[in-house]
């Protein structure tokens, strides 16, 4: 379940899931929708695949991704979208100590 939360915490990955809801897409087709480098997109796909939210199939030269979400994961995606989850930002904020923490040290 932790992997699912991790996968849903990123807005790019959430957008990928929304795009796949419309139809199956190849990696290239999906990448066209984002201003992200291909290695970064590959990393996003890997996280989604590890969480079991998408499945990938090799069709000829390209790899086609299809949505594979349970109802619970679908509901979590809805919550994540509504609440604009972004754990990376939270982590970054924690990594930078507040002025009070610096003063206490």
């Amino acid at each position: 379940m932790n992997r699912v939360f991790k996968a849903l915490s990123d807005p790019t990955r959430r957008r990928v899931l929304e795009l796949l809801r419309q139809r199956d897409m190849s990696a290239g087709e999906l990448a066209e929708h984002f201003d992200v480098t291909k290695p970064a997109m590959s990393a996003h796909f890997a996280v989604l695949r590890e969480a079991g939210l998408v499945a990938s199939m090799k069709r000829g030269q390209s790899v086609v991704y299809e949505l594979q979400m349970s109802v619970l994961e679908d509901a979590l995606l809805g919550f994540a979208k509504a609440l604009q989850w972004n754990f990376q930002k939270t982590k970054r904020r924690r990594a930078i100590p507040s002025s009070r923490e610096v003063f206490e040290r």
């Binding site: 809801r21 499945a55 990938s56 199939m57 349970s70």
Partner: protein, 227 residues
């Protein structure tokens, strides 16, 4: 990379959960037969179990992509799978809640109406999906993909629908002792027949992914995400 025709690990967990709940249902019937629990308790337990079964199956059905095997395009299948999954989960939660909190007569009536509405929803959704899929295929001249696991998922759904239809129809017609009737026993056997191929295919799936030491195989080529 996942192969077509194999179910994923979460679907395997669902199958085991499914078996566990049906076994618990059988055990509660046995307890009632040997007079360890009263009939009212048995009916409550069976109602809650049916609610749980509906939630469990409904939750994982969209993941098995059970309708996609019959359609070359993904949109109608995805929509139909989501509608059926959500309908099963919500109806299951309502049925379970009714049997936990309400008076037995009210819970019975409520679950009967909910079950009838659910069966109608499933049948209508599948028919609409079928119509749109065939229409699209005729326009595009595409062929049907034939895969193993989604068809098993469909068998599971049809069997569950059949059981629910039988059970709720009996409730609606006023015979409330369906749980001890031969229909319930035959339905449970049918469920096991539907579930066993799912279990076997999941075992094959796991075997294919593990090496001799029982560890997951690492990909031999680097994964570039399909670019």
């Amino acid at each position: 990379m996942n192969d077509e025709g194999h179910i994923s690990a979460p679907a395997t967990k669902t199958t085991y959960g499914f078996l566990l709940i049906t076994l618990a249902m059988l055990a509660s019937v046995v307890l009632w037969k040997v007079s360890l629990i009263e009939e009212d308790t048995l009916r409550r337990l069976l109602g809650i179990s049916i609610g749980l079964l509906m939630m469990l199956v409904g939750n994982s059905l969209p993941k098995t992509r059970f309708l996609k095997a019959f359609d070359s395009t993904s949109l109608p299948a995805t929509t139909a799978e989501r509608v059926i999954g959500w309908a099963l989960v919500l109806a299951g939660a309502a049925v379970g809640y009714a049997y936990v909190t309400d008076a037995l007569s009210l819970a019975t009536r409520l679950s009967a109406y909910l079950g009838a509405a659910l069966v109608l929803t499933i049948v209508v959704t599948v028919l609409v999906f079928w119509r749109s899929a065939y229409k699209h295929r005729a326009l595009e001249g595409q062929t049907t993909r034939k895969t193993g696991a989604p068809r098993k998922g469909l068998i599971l759904l049809l069997t569950l629908t059949w059981i629910l239809a039988g059970a709720f129809a009996k409730y609606l017609w006023g015979d409330r002792s369906w749980n001890a009737s031969p229909i319930a026993a035959v339905s449970l056997v049918a469920l096991y027949i539907a579930v066993i191929p799912l279990l076997m295919s999941s075992k094959r799936w796991n075997a294919g992914r593990e090496n001799r030491n029982g560890r997951r195989r690492r990909p031999t080529t680097p994964d570039y995400g399909g670019f």
